[in-house]
């Protein structure tokens, strides 16, 4: 028997913590870290008699995520309870949404240009069709990953297994608002899964749904993976593995790559096949570079879902949807396409300028009214970002406004100052927050274009340097440059060089 070919099939569940002020169902502050068990209350500790209540902004933020990922938003929905026992779960159930999720039927388009050149990575092509055989390439530019649903749920506490006989639990995270994004099994390589996670992270950060810090657990990915294997012309499906809690792009890539290889070997050795309703739950041991079985396929988990009777089913009204829509706005990919088209910037520059929504907006504001948009981009990319990096501050925290850069670029374009002087002005702007025009004036940098004033200086220079004039007459035309230098020096650099050159040349010719 020979394996003709195989394909990797991956679907993801991404848990994302939301940027609400308070936890999902109580008034505890929603923040990462801190002294263990200091941000807890009867609700998130699951004390007897405590009842949940939906925090302000929680549902709206879920809707923002749904709209940003092209989902339909339910107009009437509810919460449910999912039951299991684990020490970090305070109530013996997690409040989640089961049969009426807030968001359904969305998608994320992954730019083909971001896929690795080697389409064979991971042993399978990025197929132009999804797992159902439907075309999934959009405009020859994107591969579409469909989102089945996004639902609201609460996070659990954190178990700390230290050395010795005891375990400790920190419930600060208990009740943190989450969304769970569930995709269709539309991804066909570990790279694509990692790219998907990266794209979702970028979008959700852009719309301020999440801080999106993977290392702080703001986003965690569970990857469901199996293989389609053709052997002697016959198609087999391997059992699905769910690799839990992948918390970096590298982990997603490596865990899926490892698991695909392992499944192929397992298929060849044991001929294990897919069985509906059952899957193996695994963890990723980063140090060993291996997936580790946590629960076997034979244990069927029965979550005994019920409606959450403590929270009334609720409507999602039009005002909420409108507010959510306005918070979504233009997404990164659309912005990139527009920046390239409207400003004629390079791919690399666009990539950087659209890195965060704030920076993109800042740039656009500076570009508005600027006489040279590319120069605006250059000042931001080469000078301003360096300052931000150095000071480790965000664009909103810097001392200057976009109009400062507009003014600076225009002053140079109008030849009021030279590029070299521009750097001085830039430094002084950052220091004082003053507008460039004000600095140029105060520093006396503004060049003099008044012909009369320059003429007087030119006359004086010619009168003071008879030798140079004699040399000019003798045919040494390069003295013009030297005389120009004298004019600039006498004007303390303020003479408009164009006007001065013209005058020097004219005067010498007349002598």
């Amino acid at each position: 028997m020979a394996i003709d070919k195989y394909e990797i099939v991956i679907g993801c569940e991404i848990h994302t913590q939301l940027l609400t002020k308070t936890k999902a169902f109580c008034a505890c502050e929603n923040r990462y870290g801190g002294m263990p068990n200091t941000r807890v209350c009867p609700v998130c500790l699951g004390l007897p008699g405590a009842m949940p209540r939906i925090s302000k902004g929680y549902v709206e933020l879920g809707a923002v995520a749904g709209l940003a990922l092209n989902c339909d938003i339910a107009r009437f929905t509810k919460f449910d309870r999912k039951h299991y026992f684990y020490p970090d779960l305070t109530k013996g159930y997690q409040i989640t949404q089961y049969d009426v999720p807030l968001c359904t039927d969305g998608y994320v388009d992954l730019p083909l240009s971001h896929f690795p050149k080697d389409e064979q990575i991971g042993g399978a092509k990025h197929r132009p069709v999804n797992f159902k055989g439907e075309p999934c390439i959009i405009d020859n530019k994107y591969r579409r990953v469909r989102i089945e649903r996004i639902h609201l749920e609460e996070d659990v506490g954190k178990s700390l297994h230290l050395q010795g006989a005891h375990s400790y639990i920190d419930y600060n995270r208990s009740g943190t608002p989450l969304i769970e994004i569930v995709t269709k099994p539309d991804m066909s390589s570990p790279d694509e899964a990692a790219l998907f996670m990266q794209t979702v992270q970028e979008i959700l950060r852009y719309v301020k749904v999440t801080a999106g810090n993977l290392e702080e657990g703001n986003m965690r990915c569970d990857a469901n993976i199996n293989l389609n294997v053709w052997e002697d012309g016959k198609l087999y499906h391997t059992p699905i593995s769910e690799i839990k809690n992948l918390n970096s792009f590298k982990a997603i890539r490596e865990a899926c790559t490892y698991e695909a290889k392992r499944q192929l070997e397992e298929f060849q050795n044991d001929r294990q096949e897919f069985n509906a309703g059952f899957k193996v739950t695994m963890g990723w041991d980063e140090a060993k570079g291996q997936t580790v079985v946590q629960r076997t396929k034979n244990s069927f988990v029965d979550y005994r879902f019920t409606t959450e009777p403590d929270i009334k089913p609720f409507s999602v009204n039009e005002e909420l949807i409108e507010r959510a829509e306005s918070r979504v706005g233009e997404l990164p990919e659309a912005k990139r396409t527009r920046f390239k088209k409207d400003y004629g910037l390079s791919d690399f520059d666009v990539e950087t300028l659209t890195g965060t929504r704030e920076l993109a907006l800042w740039f656009e504001e500076a570009a508005e009214g600027a006489k040279d948009v590319k120069k605006v981009a250059n000042w931001i990319l080469a000078e301003l970002l360096a300052v931000l990096n150095e000071k480790n501050i965000a664009i909103g925290e810097v001392n200057i406004k976009p109009a400062h850069i507009t003014g600076l670029v225009n002053a140079i374009a109008d030849k009021k100052i030279t590029s070299a002087q521009g750097k001085t002005v830039f430094a002084k702007m950052l220091e004082s927050g003053k507008m460039p025009e004000e600095i140029i004036k105060a520093e006396g940098m503004e060049s003099v274009s008044d012909t009369g004033a320059i003429e007087a200086i030119v006359d004086q220079v010619i009168a003071d340097n008879p030798k140079a004039v004699a040399d000019f007459k003798g045919g040494k035309t390069n003295v013009v440059g030297w005389l120009m230098g004298q004019v600039m020096k006498a004007s303390k650099g303020k003479a408009n060089p164009g006007v001065a050159t013209k005058l020097v040349t004219e005067k010498l010719a007349k002598l």
Binding site: L47, P48, F300
Partner: protein
């Protein structure tokens, strides 16, 4: 001794008694009872701070009396200095809360239930916590780790449950009024067995915040008292939307509760009596007789009584147990020995810790209900039983609401029989479940209902009849109860004890 809140308030105002005297008398009765041969066992403890709170109230009253502002003080705090009985499943800050279960051993409530907070704001004193069936699961207050609460009318009989402790405490005059909780009749049933009034309000009218959940979509705090007014006053002070309970609701007409008037417009009163209840098997002859007398009273006042056919009521017990037990299985998941209460840990990991803590912590009836509830919720074992239970419930709610378009109240007994002897049904859960026949439809339909002390059987055991109204019609059914009270003066006052 004073029997009603009104009398007591008058005595407190005049200085004829003091809050401290009231609390001391309860403490003495409690102590004496514990030493008696057949202890009532209504209170589990009198809160240690009750006497201090009473002294503070007395000081406040005295100061107001001296400054001539006594009336305005009681207008602000209508229950000032009035002690009340709390149930062991309602959180009172700083006090033990065990739900009469071993699994909550040592747990002290760190916050107040909204009903407690609102009552204390109005001057009332939480006197102590009362016995109940474990986690409110039972109809006799026999399923308690503290032993049964006896019936003050006859101590060989059960007090009814699950709020048997609060009912017995009020009936034996150890407290002026009591809080209970209902999921399927747990206030009305002991009220009926002990011969006092007991109200189950509309779902949501009293906040559930701080009340240990049994079946969340059915649970409601109830009030036990000697007169309709003794229920109406605390109800008006506790009711209304609570930020901490998403399912809470305002009670319209709550201003009518302060000075409850007797219902007068009997000539236009239409009463429905469901055939399904009249023809129920196991309806005791004496209960039937009391029920007929009650009907006769209504007719004599000019009301119209009609027999109605509501076949869906036959499904109410089944629907009730599917929903209540599913929600119970869910709600009781949090008692796992990890964060509070009793933990049994032999050191072999948390799975074993759960099994051992819950096996030792829960009593047999609670275990039975958790197991049935989880069985029902398991798709693997029961398919969509839970969903079916929910849709039957929705139909009951709809059809009962429709009935109220043509009728003002539903009239029926509270229980097919009067109180039974201690131990009589202890090992027969099914018989116990069937005693809920007349009560659970009220919880399923989310409507209010009051149990009225309507008579007694040949042996002198009280029999209660209930007036159930449409949602938010508390004022109306209390006014009807007030009319009953005025024609049957003292039918709900403390019993003469046979000790």
């Amino acid at each position: 001794m004073y029997y009603t809140i009104k009398e007591t308030v008058a005595a407190l105002k005049s200085g004829e008694t003091s809050s401290e005297k009231l609390v001391r008398s309860s403490i003495d009765t409690f102590a004496a009872d514990q030493k008696s041969e057949k202890p009532l066992n209504a209170f589990l403890e009198i809160y240690e701070d009750a006497i201090e709170l009473a002294k503070a109230c007395d000081a406040e009253i005295e100061a107001a009396r001296n400054s001539g502002s006594i009336d305005s003080l009681f207008e602000k705090k209508p229950l000032l200095g009035i002690p009340f009985a709390n149930k062991d499943n309602i959180s009172s800050k700083g006090h033990k809360l065990t739900c009469s279960s071993k699994i909550l051993e040592g747990y002290v409530a760190p916050y107040n239930a909204t009903v407690i907070a609102r009552l204390t704001e109005k001057g009332a004193i939480p006197l102590g916590r009362c016995n109940q069936d474990e986690f409110a699961m039972g109809s006799s207050t026999e399923y308690s780790i503290y032993g049964p609460t006896r019936n003050p009318v006859n101590r060989d009989y059960v007090s009814g449950g699950s709020s048997g402790g609060s009912a017995a405490a009020v009936a034996a005059n150890q407290a002026l009024f009591g809080l209970g909780t209902e999921t399927g009749g747990s206030v009305r049933l002991p009220a009926s067995y002990c011969g006092i009034y007991g109200l189950k309000p509309t779902y949501g009218v009293l906040s559930r915040w701080g009340v240990v959940a049994y079946g969340s979509s059915l649970d409601q705090v109830g009030i036990l008292g000697h007169t309709p007014q003794d229920i109406a006053t605390p109800l008006s002070l506790m009711s209304g939307v609570d930020f901490y309970d998403d399912t809470s609701a305002d009670l319209p007409d709550s201003d009518q509760l302060i000075n409850l008037s007797a219902y007068k417009d009997f000539s236009s009163l239409k009463i429905a009596v469901p055939k399904q209840f009249e023809q129920a098997k196991g309806l005791d002859g004496d209960v039937k007789k009391v029920f007929e007398e009650t009907k006769a009273w209504f007719t004599s006042k000019g009301a119209k009584i009609e027999s109605v056919d509501l076949p869906i009521l036959d499904a109410s017990i089944a629907s009730y147990y599917v929903i209540a037990l599913s929600e119970a299985a869910s709600n009781l998941s949090r008692f796992d020995g990890i964060r509070y209460g009793r933990r049994v840990d032999n050191g072999s990991g948390y799975d074993q810790l759960y099994v051992d803590s819950r096996s030792e912590g829960f009593g047999p009836e609670v275990k039975r209900r958790i197991i049935i509830g989880n069985y029902v919720l398991s798709e693997q074992f029961s398919g969509d039983t839970y969903k079916k239970g929910m849709s039957v419930r929705a139909r009951i709610q709809r059809e009962v609401a429709k009935l109220f378009e043509s009728y003002d109240i539903i009239l029926c007994p509270v229980c097919p029989t009067p109180a039974f002897k201690l131990g009589e049904k202890y090992d027969d859960p099914l018989a116990m479940y069937l005693s809920d026949l007349y009560t659970v439809f009220v919880n399923l339909a989310r409507i209010p209902s009051i149990s009225v002390p309507a008579g007694s059987n040949k042996a002198g055991l009280p029999v209660g009849i209930q007036f159930a109204g449409k949602m938010f019609s508390e004022a109306k059914i209390l006014q009807l109860a007030q009319a009953w009270e005025e024609d049957h003066k003292g039918c709900g006052v403390p019993v003469k004890e046979n000790v």
